[in-house]
C-alpha cells in the first residue's frame, strides 16, 4: 500500500473521490489506520485518510452535543468532554494494544466501525449517539444527514447506514454526537462463580434488577462476574449494597471501590483480560446473553480458545489460532447471532467470510444500497465482503 493521501479539508477529499469515480479507481478509506487488521484487506492503489481533518468544531455541554471533524483523535474528544464533566456514552474502545498499533484512533474511525464498549448494554451503541454526519459519497458529493439536535426523524437516517459501514458507503468527514454527564462515582460488584453459566445468571440477575447496572462482564479464566453501578456517590453506595443483597443466592460479592472499578472497566473495554497472543486471531461474537456460555463451551471444545464475555454474556471476545478451522468453529457457534473477524493476518481475512453472509434478498438490497451511495464501487471495495 502506498502512503496515504491526507487531505486537510472536506472539499479536497470530495475532489479526490470525484476524480477516482471518473476513472473507476478503487480507494482505501481510513482514519488513523488503527483497524487495518480488521475485516478484509482492501486492494486499492490509493489510500485516503481523514487524519488531517481534525478538530472539535462545536461543544455545547448543556445541549449534550459535540461535533468534531472525522480525523480528531478519540482521546482529544474524551479530554475535551472530561474537562466539562462529560463522556462518550458508548464507552468506545481504543484497542491500540489489541490491534498492535501506535497511532491514535480517530472519532471517524470509531463511528465507521460502530465500536461500543461495556456501556453498550445500558447506554446504547456508538451509532445510537450519532446525531449528525457529514460525508463524501462515492460520487464525490458532500452530503449531510441528521443534524445537531438530540431528536430528529427528518428523512431517512443515513447516519445509521454510515455508522458501521467501514468506509464502504462514504467517507465520514464530520460527526455530531450526543454525550452525557460523566458519573460522579462508580463501583463494581465482583463475584467468583463456578462456571460461565452461573456467571451469566449473575449478570442477568443484576441487569434485571432495578439498580441501574451499566456494565456486566464475565472473566472466563477463574470465572468472575463483574457488575458496575455508576451515578452520584450516595446512589452508588446505596445501590451497590442493594445489588449485593439481590445477588446473595450466588455468594458474597466484593464491592470494588471507585478508582479500582474504573481501572477494571477500562481493561474490559480494551479486552485486556482476553490475553490474546500477538499471533492469535481475534473474533467478536454477539448473541443473546443466555447463549454466551454455550458459544464459549463450543469454542473451547473446538480449539484452545481464550475468552472474555461482556454485555451481560452476549458479547464474546475470542482469541485463538489464525486458521480457517478455528474461523469455521466461530461461524458455527455464532449461527444464531453475529460475528466479526476482528484481527487476523491478511491471508486468513482474504480467505473467509469476515462477517456473516446475508440471505439472498438482503444481499441484493445491500448491493443496491452500495450502488446508491457509491455507484462506481470505488470506496473500500471488498472491505466487508468479497466482491
Amino acid at each position: 500500500m502506498s502512503a496515504a493521501l491526507t487531505p486537510g479539508n472536506e472539499a479536497a477529499i470530495a475532489a479526490l473521490v470525484a476524480e477516482a469515480a471518473r476513472h473507476a479507481e478503487p480507494i482505501a478509506v481510513e482514519g488513523a489506520g488503527t483497524k487495518r487488521a480488521m475485516l478484509r484487506p482492501v486492494q486499492a492503489a490509493r489510500t485516503i485518510s481523514t487524519r488531517a481533518l481534525s478538530g472539535i468544531t462545536l461543544h455545547r455541554p448543556t445541549e449534550l452535543i459535540i461535533s468534531a471533524r472525522a480525523g480528531t483523535p478519540l482521546a482529544e474528544i474524551e479530554a475535551a468532554l472530561a474537562a466539562k464533566g462529560q463522556m462518550l456514552i458508548a464507552e468506545t474502545p481504543h484497542l491500540t494494544t489489541l490491534m498492535g498499533v501506535e497511532a491514535a484512533p480517530t472519532i471517524g474511525g470509531a463511528v465507521a466501525a460502530n465500536l461500543s464498549g461495556p456501556r453498550r448494554i445500558s447506554g446504547g451503541a456508538m451509532r445510537d449517539h450519532v446525531m449528525g454526519i457529514r460525508f463524501v459519497n462515492g460520487s464525490g458529493e458532500v452530503l449531510r444527514s441528521g443534524g445537531r439536535v438530540l431528536k430528529n426523524v427528518t428523512g431517512l437516517d443515513l447516519c445509521k447506514l454510515l455508522a458501521g459501514s467501514h468506509g464502504t458507503l462514504g467517507i465520514i468527514t464530520e460527526v455530531t454526537l450526543k454525550v452525557l454527564p460523566a458519573p460522579e462515582a462508580s463501583a463494581t460488584l465482583s463475584l467468583p462463580v463456578p462456571d460461565l453459566e452461573t456467571g451469566r445468571r449473575v449478570l442477568s440477575a443484576g441487569l434485571g434488577s432495578p439498580f441501574g447496572v451499566t456494565g456486566a462482564a464475565l472473566l472466563a479464566d477463574a470465572p468472575r462476574a463483574l457488575l458496575r453501578i455508576e451515578d452520584f456517590s450516595d446512589s452508588v453506595a446505596y445501590r451497590s449494597e442493594k445489588l449485593r443483597e439481590t445477588l446473595a443466592e450466588f455468594g458474597d460479592a466484593e464491592i470494588v471501590p471507585d478508582a479500582e472499578s474504573r481501572a477494571l472497566w477500562l481493561a474490559v473495554r480494551e479486552a485486556t483480560p482476553l490475553g490474546a497472543a500477538p499471533s492469535d486471531a481475534i473474533w467478536r461474537v454477539s448473541v443473546k446473553p443466555t447463549e454466551g456460555p454455550r458459544v464459549a463451551a463450543e469454542l473451547r471444545a473446538a480449539f484452545d480458545a481464550k475468552l472474555l464475555l461482556d454485555w451481560g454474556g452476549g458479547l464474546i471476545w475470542i482469541a485463538g489460532p489464525a486458521t480457517e478451522g478455528a474461523h469455521a468453529a466461530v461461524m458455527h457457534a455464532a449461527d444464531r447471532g453475529t460475528f466479526t473477524l476482528f484481527r487476523a493476518p491478511d491471508a486468513l481475512r482474504a480467505a473467509v467470510a469476515v462477517i456473516p453472509p446475508e440471505p439472498p434478498p438482503l444481499a441484493a438490497i445491500a448491493r443496491r444500497v452500495k450502488a446508491a451511495l457509491d455507484p462506481a464501487g470505488i470506496l473500500n471495495p471488498g472491505r466487508m465482503r468479497a466482491a
Binding site: 445541549e63 452535543i65 443515513l158 460523566a182 448473541v287
Partner: protein, 475 residues
C-alpha cells in the same frame, strides 16, 4: 393543501379484479372494498387530509402480508402501511389507487424473555400493550409516545417514535433488537435478531423511522427494561420563558439528567389546568415538570439538587410530589395537554420541530410574535431536555382561510427551527405534512441521495408514495 399524485387510471379501472385477487390471498373478512367501510381508513391523526383508498387489507400473518405485497408489486399497485392510524404527519394517508395494509390484526405477543430482557411481538400490538404484558414482573418498554394507548409498535418502528421519557431511555431505534421485514417483492427477511449490533450495514437503523418507504414490518423484537425502584415528579413555575429555559440548561449543566423534563407555556398551563385540575400555577409564564427515578432517598436527593438549581432562577413556586399519587396528578395535565387544547379549539395543528436547547428563549419569543401576526393562538408544550418543540396552533377547520393560515404559520415555525440549527421533525415524522418543507433542511443532492436509498428498496416507488420526499415534476 399539499398536492397528491394523480391516481393511475389503469389501477382504478381494475378495482374489482384487484379486490377479488386480494380476497383470495387474505381469506375471511380481511379485505374491505365497500365505500362505507373504507371511511374509517380515509385519514389518520392529521385529519385535515382525507382520501379513501382503493381497498383495505387486514392480514393476520406475515405470510399474508408477503402475499399481498408480492401481488401489489406484480400489478404495480401502490401500498400504504397502517398501524393504529395515529400519525400526526399524515403518514398513513391513503391514495385513491392504493391498497392500505392495516396491521391491527397482528396483535399477539409471541415471546417474553426476562433473562435476555427482550420481547417478540407482532406489529399490531399497542405500545402500552408491551409494557402491560411485562409490568407485573417489574419490567417496561421504554419509549412512551403520548398516543401509547392506541399506537402500535409497527407504527412506532416506522416513525421512530419518541415520548416524554426518551431523554433518559432513548427513542424507538435505541430500544430494538430485531425485525421481521417484508420487502415490496414479498420477500420475508429477518433483520437483527435477539442479539446486539449485527455486523454488516445497519438495516435495523435505516428501516426504523423510514415511514413505510422501504418495506413493511410484521414482527418486532424489543428490549424490555427493569423498572426503577420508584419515580417522582416536581413542578417549577417561572415568571418568564427565558428563566425557565436557563433553569433547564443549569440542570443539565450540573450533570443531572432527569428521566423527563417537560416545558409548558402560559396558554398550555391554563388549558391543562382547566382540563385536569392538576394544581398548576396559573400566574406562571412557564412551567417545568421534572421527573427523577430511584429509591425514595435517591429521589429526595435528586429532587433536592434540582430544587436548589431552580431556586437560583427566582421561581414563582415549586412543588415536589410527596407521593406517587401527587406525581400522577402532576403528569395528568401534561399527558392530557393535546386533549386540553382540543377543548379550547376543536382544531389544532401540532408542530414537532427540534431546536438546540440554547435557542429556546429566542424561538419561543419569535413564535409568540408570529402568533400575533397570524392572529392564531398557540400553546407550547414540549420535551425541554432535548429541544423537541410541540407548538399547538389553534384554528377553525370550517374556515378554509383559517386552515391555510395555520399551515403557513406552522411552516414558518419549522423553517425557524431549521434556521437556528434544528430540524423539521423530532418524533412525528415528515409524512405528507412536512414533505414540501424538506428542501428547507436538505439540499437537492441530499434528498436525491435519500431517494436513491429508497429506490434500492422499492425500485417502482410503490411503498407509501408521495410522503417524505417532495414530488419530482415527473411524478
Amino acid at each position: 393543501m399539499i398536492r397528491l399524485p394523480d391516481p393511475k387510471p389503469g389501477i382504478l379501472a381494475k378495482r374489482d379484479a384487484i379486490i377479488a385477487a386480494l380476497r383470495a390471498l387474505v381469506p375471511g373478512d380481511g379485505v374491505i372494498g365497500e365505500a362505507i367501510r373504507l371511511k374509517p381508513y380515509e385519514t389518520d391523526g392529521l385529519s385535515a387530509y382525507r382520501q379513501p383508498p382503493l381497498a383495505v387489507v387486514l392480514p393476520r400473518t406475515t405470510a399474508e402480508v408477503a402475499a399481498v405485497l408480492r401481488y401489489c408489486h406484480q400489478e404495480g399497485v401502490r401500498v400504504i402501511p397502517r398501524g393504529a392510524g395515529t400519525s400526526l404527519s399524515g403518514g398513513a394517508l391513503p391514495l385513491a389507487d392504493a391498497v392500505v395494509i392495516g396491521l391491527m390484526r397482528m396483535n399477539r405477543i409471541l415471546e417474553v424473555d426476562y433473562e435476555n430482557r427482550l420481547a417478540v411481538v407482532e406489529a399490531g400490538v399497542t405500545n402500552i400493550g408491551i409494557t402491560q404484558a411485562v409490568a407485573g414482573d417489574g419490567f417496561f418498554y421504554a419509549p412512551d409516545p403520548s398516543s401509547q394507548l392506541a399506537c402500535m409498535i409497527g407504527g412506532n418502528v416506522m416513525m421512530n417514535s419518541g415520548g416524554a421519557h426518551c431523554l433518559k431511555y432513548g427513542v424507538t431505534a435505541n430500544n430494538l433488537l430485531g425485525l421481521t421485514f417484508v420487502t415490496i417483492e414479498g420477500e420475508v427477511i429477518r433483520i437483527g435478531g435477539e442479539h446486539l449490533d449485527a455486523a454488516g450495514y445497519d438495516w435495523l437503523g435505516i428501516v426504523t423511522g423510514s415511514e413505510g418507504q422501504l418495506g413493511l414490518v410484521t414482527e418486532v423484537t424489543v428490549r424490555i427494561l427493569r423498572g426503577p425502584e420508584g419515580a417522582r415528579a416536581m413542578l417549577a413555575a417561572f415568571n418568564g420563558i427565558e428563566v425557565a429555559g436557563a433553569a433547564v440548561d443549569a440542570i443539565i449543566g450540573a450533570g443531572v439528567i432527569p428521566v423527563a423534563l417537560e416545558f409548558m407555556d402560559r396558554p398550555c398551563i391554563h388549558a391543562c389546568e382547566a382540563f385536569a385540575h392538576a394544581g398548576y400555577p396559573l400566574d406562571a409564564e412557564a412551567m417545568l415538570i421534572i421527573e427523577v427515578e430511584g429509591s425514595v432517598a435517591e429521589q429526595d436527593a435528586l429532587l433536592g439538587r434540582i430544587r436548589d438549581i431552580c431556586a437560583r432562577f427566582d421561581p414563582i413556586s415549586m412543588k415536589v410530589a410527596q407521593t406517587p399519587e401527587e406525581s400522577l396528578a402532576i403528569w395528568k395535565g401534561r399527558k392530557g395537554a393535546f386533549g386540553a387544547v382540543g377543548r379550547i379549539s376543536p382544531d389544532y395543528l401540532c408542530m414537532d420541530g427540534t431546536i438546540p436547547t440554547g435557542e429556546l428563549p429566542r424561538v419561543l419569543k419569535r413564535i409568540g410574535e408570529m402568533s400575533a401576526e397570524y392572529g392564531l393562538q398557540v400553546a407550547n408544550v414540549f420535551h425541554a431536555g432535548d429541544g423537541n418543540l410541540h407548538p399547538l396552533i389553534m384554528f377553525d377547520a370550517n374556515d378554509p382561510e383559517s386552515f391555510h393560515k395555520a399551515e403557513t404559520f406552522g411552516a414558518d415555525i419549522l423553517k425557524l427551527c431549521v434556521e437556528v440549527g434544528g430540524c423539521l421533525t423530532g418524533e412525528h415524522g415528515v409524512g405528507i405534512e412536512k414533505r414540501d418543507l424538506m428542501t428547507v433542511q436538505f439540499t437537492e443532492a441530499e434528498l436525491d441521495q435519500q431517494r436513491a436509498v429508497k429506490t434500492a428498496f422499492d425500485p417502482q416507488w410503490l411503498l407509501n408514495p408521495a410522503k417524505v420526499f417532495p414530488l419530482k415534476d415527473a411524478a
